[in-house]
């Protein structure tokens, strides 16, 4: 806050006009950009309420919001609800495993001194730089041999593997920063290691867990590549993948297609708008030291 007012004062020295000029230009850039970002999304939502005729004749007109027929079609005539359930299940289960396994590894590496701890951390972090996409052929063969092609488990296994490196990285840094005193006091009282971890330390790691969860939530929820290779059965498809078969079926019905896109975008958009600060922190956290 003080930095801002100090900045403002510096500008006052140079005359208010030049300040207004520059900030005015920046404000115009920001507004133009926001329009460019939101306009397509608004048109998408609007078009979901329109018929083909209305979309082609008046693409930018405000629609009759009472006309829900396209949305009802998507909900009842397609597998949309099934895809949504699959996405929620796969994402939720993967995140749970990522947090449990990631915290276990991070806790051991951060709180105990043992031979090979730093090597282990390096091993986990190395996974951050390896694009698992390029190992898709061996993964395909591995899952075929394990008999989990065409099942949730193929996706969950890949997502957990994808999510662990960043989670171990974020959680280790955070757990290391927690004070030793709490742990030592509990140990003096005769608490077991498990009890110290569960009741004393873990409740303190909540902020880092939220960051890790969001950091992994978005890529997993949105992933399309791994389902494309691993899942053939329509009943097991996740939302992005299901959307491709849905869009292939309704190629001539623009209103239904836009309604489908809107419904597919809705869950994460709503969560993002409510938790935008946490989303932005979580998704950029890997990029900041």
């Amino acid at each position: 806050m003080t930095a801002t007012s100090a900045k403002a004062m510096t500008y006052d020295n140079k005359g208010i006009l030049s300040t207004l000029g520059r900030d005015g230009l920046l404000q115009v850039i920001l507004i133009a950009n926001t329009v460019l970002m939101l306009f397509p999304v608004v048109i998408m939502v609007f078009s979901g309420f329109k018929s083909n005729m209305e979309i082609f004749n008046n693409p930018f007109a405000v629609p009759d919001f009472a006309n829900l027929s396209n949305y009802i079609d998507v909900w009842t005539q397609t597998n949309f609800v099934r895809y949504l359930f699959n996405s929620v299940f796969v994402t939720g289960f993967s995140l749970l495993l990522i947090l449990v396994l990631g915290t276990m590894a991070a806790y051991a590496i951060a709180r105990y001194e043992f031979f090979g701890a730093s090597f282990l951390l390096l091993f986990f972090i190395a996974g951050l730089t390896l694009p698992l996409k390029l190992a898709i052929i061996p993964l395909f063969i591995l899952f075929r041999d394990l008999g989990i092609l065409n099942s949730y488990w193929a996706l969950i296994a890949v997502y957990v593997a994808m999510g662990l490196p960043s989670t171990v990285f974020i959680m280790t840094g955070f757990i290391r920063s927690l004070p030793r005193e709490l742990e030592d006091a509990a140990r003096m009282d005769g608490a077991s290691e498990l009890r110290i971890m569960w009741s004393v330390m873990l409740p303190l790691t909540r902020p880092a867990m939220i960051i890790s969860a969001i950091h992994n939530l978005v890529p997993i929820w949105n992933d399309f590549f791994f389902p494309l290779v691993f899942i053939q059965n329509d009943a097991l498809k996740t939302l992005p993948q299901g959307l491709t078969s849905f869009m292939g079926e309704y190629t001539t019905d623009w209103g239904v297609m836009f309604a489908g896109l809107t419904l597919a975008a809705a869950p994460i958009t709503v969560v993002y708008v409510i938790l935008s600060r946490q989303f932005i922190n979580g998704m950029t956290s890997g990029a900041l030291k």
Binding site: A6, I29, P131, I137, L243, M283
Partner: protein, 306 residues
């Protein structure tokens, strides 16, 4: 008693470490090492055949028609990377600077610019595919409405504009990421340093060049490297918008599409070749790893620690 405690703790640490380690070994280390090995074998469908040394690599890089396909895809990846470097990261920096000024409405603009980043590429791809429709798409409707009929082109349907259209959509979707990473970097610059700099010079341009840019260098390093890796792994957006063949006429073909076609086949040519696919994956991986490593070292050198 102490000895017993020690083994107990050893067991405890082992119990914590082994499950996550097992996941990493099974689903990361083993597949990646296998990917290297597979490239040296001949494949009959899903069956691994004989060891063939570098034959797959030779085919992919030097035997026609594969060599031309590989080169064509690679050149497009390079174009994508440099274009996005300028458009996406350049505009991201400008937006970050504008947001950093905390003008009225900055919080709202920040949420808006990041919204497409959280949306699935599949949604974004289909949305813009409809928007770019030559006759009914809103993009051309706007151009016609403004009397700019010459701009009402089949953007995705002609070789001259298809790749550029994909690059535009990618920049639209992802500009929020560099914006907010740069912004976080700018917000960490101590106020005293900025105040001191602004005492010295009247030119904000000098402040940006000499103070802001060097001090956000660590953020820039990460943004550049991530864009580099992303550009050479580009797959979802072209797959949705122009299809597996990189249509029209391969003008949007990139390594990701080409790799997928080779490894898993496509409708027009149902053959799949895990050997050549693996060779492509290994070449792509080595290229990304080597360039990213050298570039990171170079970029880190110019970073300033306060």
């Amino acid at each position: 008693m102490p000895r017993l405690r020690l083994t107990g703790r050893g067991l405890w640490i082992t119990a914590l470490i082994v499950p996550p380690l097992a996941v990493m070994v099974t689903f990361v280390a083993y597949p990646i090492l296998s990917a290297l090995a597979y490239a040296f074998y001949d494949w009959q469908g899903l069956q691994r055949g004989d060891f063939v040394g570098l034959a797959n690599f030779h085919e992919v890089l030097f035997t026609e028609p594969f060599a031309t396909w590989t080169r064509n895809a690679f050149v497009h990846n390079v174009i994508v990377f440099f274009s996005l470097m300028v458009i996406q990261n350049g505009f991201g920096f400008i937006l970050a600077y504008a947001l950093w000024r905390e003008l009225p409405g900055a919080a709202f603009h920040r949420v808006a610019v990041f919204l497409p980043v959280v949306l699935s590429t599949v949604i974004i791809g289909f949305l813009w595919k409809l928007f770019f429709h030559p006759l009914f798409g809103p993009v051309n409707q706007i151009f016609r409405g403004l009397g700019l009929d010459f701009l009402a082109q089949p953007w995705l349907g002609q070789s001259s504009t298809a790749l550029a259209s994909l690059i535009f959509v990618n920049a639209w979707a992802w500009v929020g990421f560099p914006t907010l990473v740069f912004l976080a970097g700018m917000q960490r610059i101590p106020g005293e340093i900025l105040d001191a700099a602004r005492m010295e010079t009247d030119s904000e341009w000098v402040v940006i060049k000499k103070i802001v840019w060097p001090l956000v260098a660590p953020s820039a390093t990460v943004v550049f490297i991530l864009l580099f890796i992303g550009s050479f792994n580009w797959f979802e957006l072209p797959y949705i918008m122009v299809g597996l063949d990189g249509s029209p006429f391969g003008s949007t073909d990139v390594l990701g599409l080409y790799f997928y076609r080779t490894a898993f086949g496509n409708q027009s040519a149902g053959v799949q070749d895990f050997g050549r696919g693996s060779a492509l994956a290994v070449i792509t991986f080595l290229f990304i790893a080597i360039v990213a490593a050298f570039w990171t070292v170079r970029l880190r050198k110019r970073e300033i620690q306060l």
